[in-house]
Amino acid sequence: MKIEVNEVSMVYPSGKHALQSISLQMECPNLIGILGPNGAGKTTLMKLLIAGLIPTSGKILLDGKALLSQEKRLKSQLGYLPQSFGLYDELTVWQFIDYMAALKGIQEKAAIDNVLERVSMADQRKVRLRSLSGGQRQRVGIAQALLGNPRLLILDEPTVGLDPEERVKFRNIFSEMAQDKIVLLSTHIVEDVQSICNRVLVLHHGRILFDGIPADLISRTNGHVGIFLSDNGDNVPKNCQVVSKVNTARGIQCRIVAEELPDYVDKAEPTLEDAYLFHIRKGDGAS
């Protein structure tokens, strides 16, 4: 499976430019993390990729053919977890997954049990959806996306509402699945991307700021991350982005990213989060 996004722009009827002439290619296998602040265009990109939207301009190709003409094929190979979604609350967990399995044309009941096991919901299979917590509902959402072992898995904020242990577990599941398919996940949690994605896409204001491997993104931030101690944490130099402030015995240790670090700041090894913030800041035009 190969997806090509060529010069795609998306302008909503309200006039908002959600995506501006972006291009990218995705081939199997691939686990791509999309990072970006709110309103960067992550969800719009995902909706375009599932043929839920039609781009204002540009083309999206699935194996070389226009995506909309391949809608039926796309849907048969797609697992999709939207950012927000509803469930039929009167159904039990098992009934709902069975329903979604039927929509996908999956008749084997073992497949339902399998995904419920994978998302740790097997024990709650007879629980009505209305009784589930936010995290459990999210797991049901993930379960339906995993159904049928889809070749293209698009996950919009999949780890929202999950506890740390579950997050790690799901990260591993996504990683395993990406061995023979395309997995695209958008998230605010940089750590998720850092730990499993072999490719990262940084979106900001509808543009791609970075598209490459996480190590490359990090390496580009070398020399732009620093640490200094502050008495009260207020004396942050101008044109710097504070990544973290940590109280220590010697004062507040501030971690910053900046195009040019002040002299008194000790340079530090960048993380993906530093790199992400640095690029976003750069994208905003800060120097």
Partner: protein
């Protein structure tokens, strides 16, 4: 295959929804309202009371409920954002289709539950009259398709506007339209409340069921077309209506199917075969002298009923000694299609005109040569209703259980020709039917190889009323007359159980003795014929009496105001034969000063009382008649609104109407007989009263019942004043 699989899971999902169960349970309760206040059909026959009315009420209520469920379910997927998940897997158009079929299936299951739920009660109440086929057909023709139409419309509206409150409002408008004055004038537009004027217990109910089936198919096509069109409007790719419409339009099969269905529905509406397409106003007959120049020596009508299709196939054959040439016209009910006109075995071209008179349409044909010997007109179809009288049948019906035809409906009218004085009728009917031509039996018949019988009769009167049915005929002598008592075999049980023949003989003897000879008894014979409720109502002529079948319903026969038991109620109905022509029924409060028509009902009740007194004695008559009347009048007079009519205006219209109906019943069946009883005492006893009533009979009969009998007429006949008959 996948669609079927989807259908199964959607069906199961809906079956697990509490809304579905609520709607199913309420739909099951819907028919209950038809027993009492939501009566849309004639409740005086058992099939109307226990089948038509409950089913029609359940049809309307269920249709609305299923539409509400459709709106809820359609909106739910968007409101809950479940569509975001499902749309990523299946096209929303396919999901809409699957949801529709699932809802249709569930409504079918609910309808089936209705069939089962009301079956025992209906069987118990209707007893020997119960017709399982009619019961099933009512649900399958009236209820289920209407629910489907409602679901289709509700889903279509939602898919077009995609706002539940607006869709609900538009659906209400559609319902209102179906109950509007417009829909009443053109009953084909009644999509949610199909029209069933009445059913028949003893004859056939297929007439109105056929119309209902036609309108259901018509509306299923229309609603299906609108719904298919609405699939194109389903919002996709987060686009608005127009863009979504434009994109889905590329699925060519959708607009093509929508157009085909809607065109089918519109064509069915425009070309409906039940009501003539003539002028809205009644056009009186004035066609004469159409082939006046042709000496007709013999006329033969060969009528073959085809009950399975409800049609009549006919050949009218005219033999002439010197047939004239030129443009000729025939008048025939437009429901018949003229197949061919032959003159001396040569085809003659003909053209149907747009001219209507009565229930007939003019067709012109050109006879090119004079001196022709034989003219035949072959036609087939079934008589349409007069547009101005629709949906009333005017006595025309061709069904498997009953054939009823009036003259203009059954044979072409060549009025003005030199008629030979008699004509020959050859009538082919199913073997189980017995025909009555102008209320007389046809004696001669031949049995055909296919089991049908061809009845032949020479008839001198052109006015033809033809009925045929699986009649039961009881012949006996009473009051010096040979009486033929003819009724549907379905009533055989009750006729035997209550010995109705004996009761009828008693009535004829008693009334002849006390009130004089029945004014329309012709010669020494009397034909008494029961008539289908479809063309209900009493009628009488020289030597024959017809009465509607509602006389024999259990509800009527158990009316204590008419008699102490079923046999006595039957006697009451037979006594009507004497008094039936006196006038129309009076209102709830007859107004003496306005000289309003007085009801024949009071005289009938009084005469029945007299007969029972004669038969069972004074004590019996007092207990079951006078005391019953007095009790009813006492209850009436104790009523607050009877004593204080000035407060009536403050009541809602429905309550006022109910009170008025109650008062009317008491006045007709209790107050009037009490007043006649009082008059009897004042004029000098029963013999004197009989004398007065005989004179009333005689006077009105001699005058041809040309004016209604008023209260003042009664007072004058008795020589009494108004105040004389005020009850104590």
């Amino acid at each position: 295959m996948k669609t079927f699989f989807l259908y199964r899971v959607e069906l199961r999902r809906l079956a697990l929804s509490k809304f579905t169960w609520i709607v199913t349970v309420l739909s099951l309760c819907g028919p209950l309202t038809g027993y009492s206040f939501l009566q849309q059909s004639n409740a005086s026959v058992m099939s109307g009371q226990y089948i038509a009315n409950p089913v029609l009420a359940g049809t309307v209520i269920g249709a609305i409920l299923w539409a509400v469920l459709t709106l809820i379910e359609s909106n739910r997927v968007y409101r809950n954002k479940t569509d975001i998940l499902t749309d990523a897997i299946v096209s929303p158009i396919r999901m809409a289709f699957v949801r529709m079929t699932a809802l249709a299936s569930l409504s079918a299951a609910a309808c089936f539950l209705c069939v089962l739920a009301y079956l025992p009660y209906t069987i118990v109440k209707m007893d020997y009259i119960f017709n399982p086929a009619l019961y099933m057909m009512s649900f399958l023709i009236l209820m289920l398709p209407t629910w489907w139409i409602s679901i289709l419309l509700a889903a279509a509206i939602y898919q077009i506007v995609q706002r539940v409150e607006l869709a609900g409002l538009l659906y209400v408008v559609c319902v209102y339209f179906s109950f509007s004055r417009f829909a009443n004038s053109d009953f084909f537009s009644r999509w949610i409340n199909p029209i069933i004027i009445t059913y028949s217990d003893g004859f056939s109910s297929l007439y109105y069921l056929r119309i209902a089936l036609y309108t259901r198919v018509l509306w299923l096509a229309l609603a299906g077309g609108i719904w298919t069109l609405s699939l194109i409007c389903i919002r996709r790719y987060q686009k608005n209506l127009l863009v979504s419409f434009w994109r889905s339009l590329r699925k060519v099969y959708l607009p093509v199917t929508a157009a085909a269905l809607m065109v089918t529905g519109i064509m069915m509406w425009r070309g409906q075969p039940f009501v003539d397409h003539g002028p809205a106003e009644f056009q009186y007959w004035d066609y004469y002298n159409t082939i006046n120049d042709s000496k007709i020596s013999a006329v033969t009508y060969r009528l073959t009923a085809k009950p399975e299709s409800g049609q009549l196939h006919s050949i009218a054959e005219y033999t002439s000694t010197s047939g004239g040439s030129g443009i000729k016209s025939i008048w025939l009910n437009p429901g018949y299609k003229i197949l061919r006109i032959m003159c001396d075995n040569q085809p003659v071209s003909f053209t149907a005109t747009s001219e209507f008179q009565g229930d007939s349409q003019r067709t012109d044909f050109n006879l090119t040569q004079s001196g022709w010997k034989t003219l035949t007109i072959e036609y087939e179809g079934y008589p349409t209703m007069l547009r101005c009288f629709a949906p009333y049948t005017w006595g025309n019906e061709v069904t498997s259980d009953y054939v009823s035809l009036n003259n203009f409906s059954s044979m072409p009218s060549l009025t003005g020709l030199n008629f030979p004085g008699t004509f020959t009728l050859e009538l082919t009917l199913p073997g189980y039917m017995t025909p009555l031509l102008n209320h007389q039996f046809i004696e001669d018949y031949t049995l055909n190889t296919d089991g049908t019988k061809t009845w032949t009769k020479k008839e001198s009167s052109y006015i033809i009323w033809l009925t045929a049915c699986d009649y039961n005929v009881e012949s006996f002598n009473a009051a010096g007359m040979n009486v033929n008592f003819v009724y549907s075999k379905k009533y055989e049980t009750i006729m035997t159980e209550y010995n109705m023949q004996e009761a009828l003989a008693e009535v004829l003897s008693y009334c002849t003795e006390h009130l004089g000879r029945l004014s329309w008894a012709g010669g020494s014979s009397l034909m008494m014929v029961q008539r289908s409720a479809i063309s209900d109502g009493g009628n009488a002529g020289e030597g024959w009496v017809e009465w509607g079948e509602s006389t024999f319903t259990a509800g009527n026969l158990s009316d204590p105001l008419k008699g102490a038991n079923a046999a006595e109620v039957f006697v009451h109905e037979m006594v009507h034969i004497w008094w039936g022509g006196l006038g129309v029924n009076c209102g709830s409060e007859w107004d003496v000063s306005n000289n309003d028509p007085w009801s024949d009902e009071g005289l009938t009740v009084y005469t029945t009382y007299r007969l029972m007194k004669d038969k069972y004695g004074e004590e019996y008559a007092k207990q079951y008649y006078i005391d019953v009347w007095q009790a009813a009048v006492d209850i009436q007079e104790r009523g607050f609104y009877y004593r204080n009519p000035e407060y009536l205006d403050r009541l809602p219209e429905q309550y006022r109407a109910d009170l008025s109906t109650m008062n009317r019943g008491t006045n007709l069946y209790s107050r009037m007989p009490l007043m006649i009883l009082k008059a009897e005492q004042l004029v000098g006893g029963e013999e004197k009263m009989d004398e007065i009533l005989r004179s009333v009979q005689s006077r009105f009969a001699n005058n041809g019942f040309d004016k209604p009998f008023t209260y003042q007429d009664f007072l004058d006949a008795c020589g009494l004043q108004e105040e004389d008959l005020i009850l104590d």
